[in-house]
Symmetry: C2
DNA sequence: TAGATTGTTAATCGATTAACAATC
DNA sequence: TAGATTGTTAATCGATTAACAATC
């Protein structure tokens, strides 16, 4: 097992490994070789073995990998079993959609509560999650220390809001506001979801289909 | 100007360039050097110049780049001025959120219409977009030939739905269903939005903050 | 045991960065 | 003109792939 900084490229492949292994697991597949997993995922067997070697030895010569075991090992690496708790800040359509449809539990997150400014929403529940007034946000975070905040608020308030939450100890931001957030504080991470970027990538590709042959 | 296949790494940086240039443009900034843009974006000036050189020569020695011009050049490369039209398939919470909040027009897309199975939604409008019954989907696509379909439908129907739409000439899929779509048909592209993956990446990072120093 | 497949080292390939002549 | 900054070529760095000894 190499002990080196894990590259971004590897980190971004981990969730994909997890998805495929989870699917295989659900289908009842017991073992898989790097070769056949690579074929399914359209990557080389070498890459899979190289990637995994950053974290340990999970296979067995002549056999391959036990699907259930590798799945749970990667889940562990990703922190799925860490019992992280999160709050949703902004319960508009997008926040609502996430609360209603996204399976937080499946990736090990517990949704503590949600916040919104709209009086009409405050006090209501979405998918068993209570919506609280924005005024209670800081007090709540101070008291319950959620690990992650989901930001589905207007762009303009995103950075100041993040700053306040960082000061209160929030470590991760799942940021849907299309601004890139940043901080000086070490150990705080942002995952900025740029819908615009992905649609533009698609636009680029359909504009030049010939370039890909 | 090099004439070579443009790498994925470059393609994925283009929308980000566009975002930054758009912001500078809105702020009234007239010119910028690769150096100062690089500082803002936290990448090297070399990389910016190298990336741009895939598409042409947009700068001027001793001056840098004209913001408005470079912005519109990159917009053009991304296909923003192609007049693409799209349809939204599935008007649940997520589809609703996109229709309501996402500025399609800003990236050059026109939303033609939306489809849903729910009788309660059919005939209503969200943000000026009419929701039609799913039964009309194929006939509609056949007649109006939208370029892109946004898929905010249940996972299970995503691939068969995509197959039907591909057969009718849809070229791009902005896919929010968390399954990886694929096709044999050349010139068709998928942009799969994996919410799960990004949340897991965040989970990974807050689990090992020390690895990043 | 023989065959299969790992983990790891070495080779290759590609992407990023540095350097600099060209020139506005 | 002198200074600034490009576009591009060359150097470096890192990531991917290939190869293979170890071994289940």
């Amino acid at each position: 097992m190499k002990k080196q900084k894990v590259s971004d490229a590897v980190i971004h492949r981990l969730p994909r490994y997890y998805r495929y292994l989870d699917e295989l697991h659900n289908k009842g597949v017991v073992r898989i070789s790097s070769n056949s997993l690579g074929q399914k995922m359209d990557i080389t067997a070498s890459q899979i073995r190289q990637d995994l070697s950053c974290f340990g030895e999970f296979g067995q010569q002549g056999y391959g990998y036990n699907v259930a075991e590798l799945r749970s090992e990667i889940g562990h690496i990703l922190g799925i079993d860490s019992g992280y708790r999160l709050i949703v800040v902004g319960a508009g359509h997008l926040g609502h959609a996430l609360l209603q449809n996204f399976d937080f539990q499946k990736v090990g997150f517990q949704v503590d509560t949600a916040f919104d400014v709209s009086p009409a929403l405050i006090g209501t529940k979405i998918h068993d999650v209570t919506i609280r007034p924005m005024e209670e946000l800081e007090h709540y975070v101070e008291e319950y220390h959620p690990n992650v905040a989901v930001l589905t608020v207007p762009q303009s308030v995103a950075q100041p809001l993040a700053d306040r939450l960082i000061a209160l100890g929030v470590k991760g931001f799942w940021n849907f506001t299309n601004v890139e957030l940043s901080t000086q504080t070490k150990g705080v991470f942002f995952e900025d979801i740029h819908f615009v970027d992905t649609l533009l990538t698609l636009s680029y590709r359909i504009s030049r289909p010939e370039e890909l042959y």
